[in-house]
């Protein structure tokens, strides 16, 4: 029936073209939006994973209760004391309880490809008349570059420059701009006793995340802990695993026996990942909307065609064509429209994605990718062909149910 179906379609070029445009546009929008959304999500997740490692170990947040504290007393004296007022509040421990135990454990663990400890503290910075607070993050540069992608975001200088020892910092681009300081110049960090400690800026980085670029300074860990008077303390250990997909089960397992807080990258960013669920929901709604609009268009046009072709249906039936063949004739038209529309839509969707990505990278200087995943394209094709088949089925079935005698009598 493909011959007759194609002849039907070609005899109504304008209508066929309009349906094709509708399907192609719907498919291309689906491909572009899905690619953009998944690309953005992949970019964000990559940022989260590459900047914070796969597993993060920090001091544990703990709600204070009598039970937490009573273990410091001799259990035999349990009945000899009484709380006048129950202890309460939240203990927000900023340091890891036993970092050296962790170092030993992590260096022997076969799941761990690398780890790096850091110490971070809030500091006050001065530069000429500008005064503001910032997060000072002390790292071991060589170790840190093994577990995060910080080095790839450094636009001036090198991470290794911090290894030179002494008061050196690498600052977020926005923070340095706000302070009006260039690489090679100095800023003052206010120490514990209020003294002004000069630090030379040896580099700047730009991660594209405002909260970091506008707030963070990196220095050597010894320098950070000196400023905070917390020598030997570790506030965070960033762990990189061989298999990022194992981050959650491994974090859960370590968390069970550790007094410290152990979180996988997805647990630490649960709120962001919840947003992706809403994004998925939105995308699915858009997809359903596109399918409905395309289906309704095809249904409408095919219904009109079936009505216009009643006489031809009567001829075909009287010549011995079965109802199944009439169903095939109209269903084939829906299928052909759906398939050609899908192919055009895929090409158009790819071109839109390609040019938008070029724009993002070259003009907007963004690192966001648009996913060009064959699965998205396959989904687009299946969606277009499926909706065309579904929309074509109702009028095609109506056509197949017509008997020649009924049509002839109506004529």
């Amino acid at each position: 029936m493909i011959f007759l179906a194609l002849r039907h379609l070609l005899s109504r070029k304008k209508q066929s073209l309009l349906i094709l445009i509708g399907i192609a546009l719907g498919t291309s929008i689906f491909i572009f939006l899905t690619g953009l959304q998944l690309g953005f999500r992949a970019y964000m997740i990559r940022q989260l994973i590459e900047n914070d490692g796969h597993v993060k170990i920090t001091g544990r947040d703990e709600t204070i209760s009598p039970k937490n504290i009573e273990n410091i007393f001799d259990p035999k004296q349990k009945n000899n004391y009484l709380w006048v007022t129950n202890p309460a509040g939240k203990r927000n421990e900023s340091r890891i309880a036993s970092p050296f135990d962790w170092f030993t454990f992590l260096s022997q663990n076969s799941d761990v490809s690398g780890f790096s400890e850091l110490y971070q503290t809030q500091v006050l910075i001065r530069r000429a008349g500008v005064k503001r607070t910032a997060q000072l993050v002390g790292i071991y540069p060589q170790r840190h570059r093994m577990v995060t992608q910080l080095e790839s975001f450094i636009t001036e200088g090198k991470l290794a420059d911090l290894s030179g020892g002494g008061p050196l910092v690498i600052g977020g681009a926005e923070l340095l701009d706000e302070l009006g300081v260039a690489v090679g110049e100095s800023i003052f960090i206010v120490g514990l006793s209020g003294e002004m400690l000069p630090h030379r800026v040896v580099g700047r980085f730009s991660m594209g995340a405002r909260g970091i670029d506008n707030n963070v300074l990196y220095t050597h860990i010894s320098q950070a802990s000196n400023i905070a008077g917390a020598q030997g303390q570790v506030s965070q250990i960033i762990v990189r695993l061989f298999d990022v997909d194992q981050a959650r089960p491994i974090a859960d397992q370590w968390s069970q026996w550790s007094v410290d807080k152990v979180e996988s990258w997805d647990q630490a960013n649960a709120q962001f990942l919840e947003v992706t669920v809403i994004q998925d929901l939105t995308r699915n709604f858009i997809t359903v909307g596109i399918v409905l609009v395309a289906s309704f268009g095809i249904y409408n046009v095919l219904s009109i065609i079936v009505n216009q072709k009643r006489r031809e249906i009567a001829i075909l039936r009287s010549l011995g064509y079965q109802s199944r063949q009439i169903l095939e004739l109209f269903l084939t038209q829906g299928l052909v429209l759906g398939f050609i529309g899908a192919v055009l839509g895929v090409v158009l969707g790819y071109l839109i994605s390609y040019f938008t990505m070029n724009y993002l990278h070259s003009i907007a200087k963004s690192q966001v990718q648009i996913e060009i995943d064959p699965m998205i394209y396959l989904q687009g094709i299946l969606m277009a062909v499926g909706s065309s088949l579904l929309a074509g089925y109702i009028p095609a079935r109506a056509a197949s149910q017509m008997t020649p005698i009924d049509i002839i009598r109506e004529e």
């Binding site: 011959f3 007759l4 002849r7 039907h8 070609l10 005899s11 006489r311 031809e312 009567a314 001829i315 075909l316 039936r317 009287s318 010549l319 011995g320 064509y321 079965q322 109802s323 063949q325 008997t403 020649p404 005698i405 002839i408 004529e411």
Partner: protein, 223 residues
């Protein structure tokens, strides 16, 4: 042979009986015209004879096959291989050429390539050998009807049913169509049942059944 036995056809509520207990036979290879005034039931009778409609009661058999007892596939196979239709308004597919229209019954079984020489031969016979690739819209009414005649003959049917084939044509074209039907009947020994309200065409048939209000008023065969 077509056998009609106690054939009754009624329509609507309250019931209107259009054909009233008809019984007759048409031997294989006979050219029969069924004629009568408008509303006499001649077209209804043709649709019943040609398997397009089912009787209210009684039966029609074509070479001992009762279409009312066939399933859909059997009925459509039977129509495709045994029956040729010619309608008043030619009913050609407007997007197909004359040749493609003639090949439509063969295309149903993907035999159109095999039947193409015969289709060209038939179009030559009906005087359209030069216009095989023309669309119906590029042909006159008479030419379209001649294409429909060629289409009805493509599968070498045992029966041809023609419903007012001259109804929309002028006298000259109408006579040309009659001559082609008579030629097909003579050459292929096909049973032809022609429904017409025009006496001059009815009289050219070998046998004439005259219907009045659903009853056979006269049934004459040429001596």
């Amino acid at each position: 042979m077509i056998k009609v036995n106690s054939l009754i056809k009624s329509f609507g509520h309250p019931e209107t009986r259009v054909l009233k207990n008809l019984s007759f036979e048409i031997p294989q290879g006979q050219f029969v015209s069924i004629w009568g005034r408008s509303g006499s039931g001649k077209t209804t009778l043709l649709y019943l004879l040609s398997t397009l409609d089912k009787p209210t009661s009684g039966s029609v058999t074509l070479n001992n096959n009762n279409p009312a007892l066939m399933n859909e596939k059997q009925l459509h196979d039977f129509r495709n291989l045994n029956i040729g239709f010619i309608f008043q308004f030619h009913y050609l597919l407007p997007e197909l050429s004359a040749l493609e229209n003639v090949l439509l019954p063969a295309r149903r079984n993907n035999l159109h390539k095999d039947y193409e020489p015969r289709a060209i031969e038939l179009l030559n016979e009906v005087g359209l050998g030069e216009k095989t690739s023309r669309l119906p819209s590029q042909l006159s009414g008479g030419e379209q009807q001649r294409v429909a005649i060629a289409r009805s003959l493509i599968m070498k049917p045992k029966f041809i049913f023609a419903d007012e084939p001259t109804g929309s044509l002028d006298t000259q074209n109408g006579q040309k169509v009659m001559e082609l039907l008579l030629k097909a009947h003579n050459e292929y020994k096909t049973t032809v049942v022609l429904v017409t309200h025009e006496k001059e065409y009815a009289q050219q048939a070998e046998r004439r059944i005259f219907l009045v209000d659903g009853i056979i008023e006269s049934d004459e065969t040429k001596g």
